[in-house]
């Protein structure tokens, strides 16, 4: 008799690609395009977007060393994205694919409906956008998804509701662009309400 919420990424750590929960201490690492590099040489240039997405442990060791999560990045406007630096693609109900996104996975016992779900990033308070970095997210599976700046609670991306079920999955694409030099800090908040 328990409910649970987990944030998951789709990647291969050596046993085949699978949805894997991010345990506490495991990080989403955005870097510039190229080989895995958690150091300064992997840093994204100001004004550009992530060219690689990795899952790393607390020591910055790569966990997705067989296959990384898909790297989705803002493209020419809020309605387009590029996957792994490929062609510009218009977002629609099937693009990007769920497995290219991050997943909020909820298990419910007893069965429950989701009446609200959202995601945003914040800086010094939940109301404040993070400093020096702009983070965009898009709801996967929507009829007309679009990148939204999710800085601060007022800008939370609505992940929608769900009918009664024992498990629920909400998917969102995530990308970031630094607006100044230096390491950045932000907190990602995901929340789900069940009835």
């Amino acid at each position: 008799m328990a409910n649970a919420l987990s944030l998951r990424a789709y990647y291969d750590a050596g046993a085949g690609a699978a949805w894997t929960a991010l345990e506490t201490g495991q990080k989403i690492l955005f870097q510039k395009a190229g080989a895995f590099d958690a150091g300064a040489t992997g840093a994204i240039t100001v004004g550009e977007y992530n060219g690689g997405t990795h899952i790393v442990d607390a020591s910055d060791a790569e966990l997705c060393d067989t296959a990384h999560p898909a790297n989705l990045a803002y493209s020419t406007d809020t309605t387009h994205y590029k996957k792994d630096g490929g062609v510009e693609t218009l977002m629609d109900s099937t693009h990007p694919a769920a497995t290219d996104c991050f997943n909020v996975h909820v298990t419910c016992d007893p069965t429950a409906e989701i009446t609200a779900a959202s995601v945003f990033v914040y800086g010094t308070s939940e109301a404040a956008a993070p400093s020096g970095v702009t983070v965009y997210a898009a709801k996967q599976g929507a009829a007309s998804p679009a990148w939204t700046n999710i800085g601060g609670s007022a800008a939370a991306l609505d992940l929608g509701t769900s009918a009664s079920a024992t498990t629920h999955d909400k998917y969102f694409a995530l990308c970031a662009t630094p607006t100044s030099n230096g390491s950045k800090t932000a907190t990602l908040k995901t929340s789900v309400t069940v009835v």
Binding site: M1, N3, L5, T185
Partner: protein, 150 residues
């Protein structure tokens, strides 16, 4: 993330029913939604609700208004360190005609909020009741840093 205690509803005919009652575990539906449908069908109302969550008990009387209850789960994940804080709130809302009264607990603190009808009241605990996520995360980060230095 968090274990759940069943809610208990007292109905207008004097009966009591729990979230775990087999009568509410039908057709893969939410027990609360099933109770609402059952009450409509039998012309009963929920007169009060009790929920145990962590170290706290919420008890709310309907006083003629509709009641509803649910759980809100949240995860705060520091992107720089990956450290995360899972939170779980139990809430009961009294849906008065001109305002909604929210009774909320995180299992440690209990607080109340009023919103306009339909507006969620469970997302933003007032600062006095909000768990100090930043303090907890900072403490974890310091411990992580010390471990890395050893």
């Amino acid at each position: 993330m968090s274990d759940r205690e069943p809610w208990v509803a007292h109905l207008s005919d004097g009966t009591t029913i729990s979230e775990d009652d087999p009568a509410l575990r039908v057709d893969n539906r939410s027990p609360w939604k099933t109770l609402c449908a059952l009450c409509r069908k039998t012309d009963r109302t929920v007169t009060s609700l009790e929920c145990i969550h962590g170290h706290r008990i919420l008890t709310v009387e309907a006083k003629g208004a509709a009641l509803a209850t649910g759980l809100t789960y949240a995860e705060h994940r520091r992107l720089g360190t990956g450290l995360s804080v899972p939170l779980c709130y139990r809430w009961i809302v009294r849906e008065c005609a001109d305002h909604w009264q929210w009774h909320i607990t995180d299992g440690i603190s209990v607080w109340r909020m009023e919103t306009t009808p339909g507006e969620p009241g469970y997302e933003e605990p007032p600062s006095i009741a909000r768990p100090d996520v930043d303090k907890w995360l900072a403490q974890q980060e310091e411990e992580q840093s010390q471990e890395a230095g050893e």
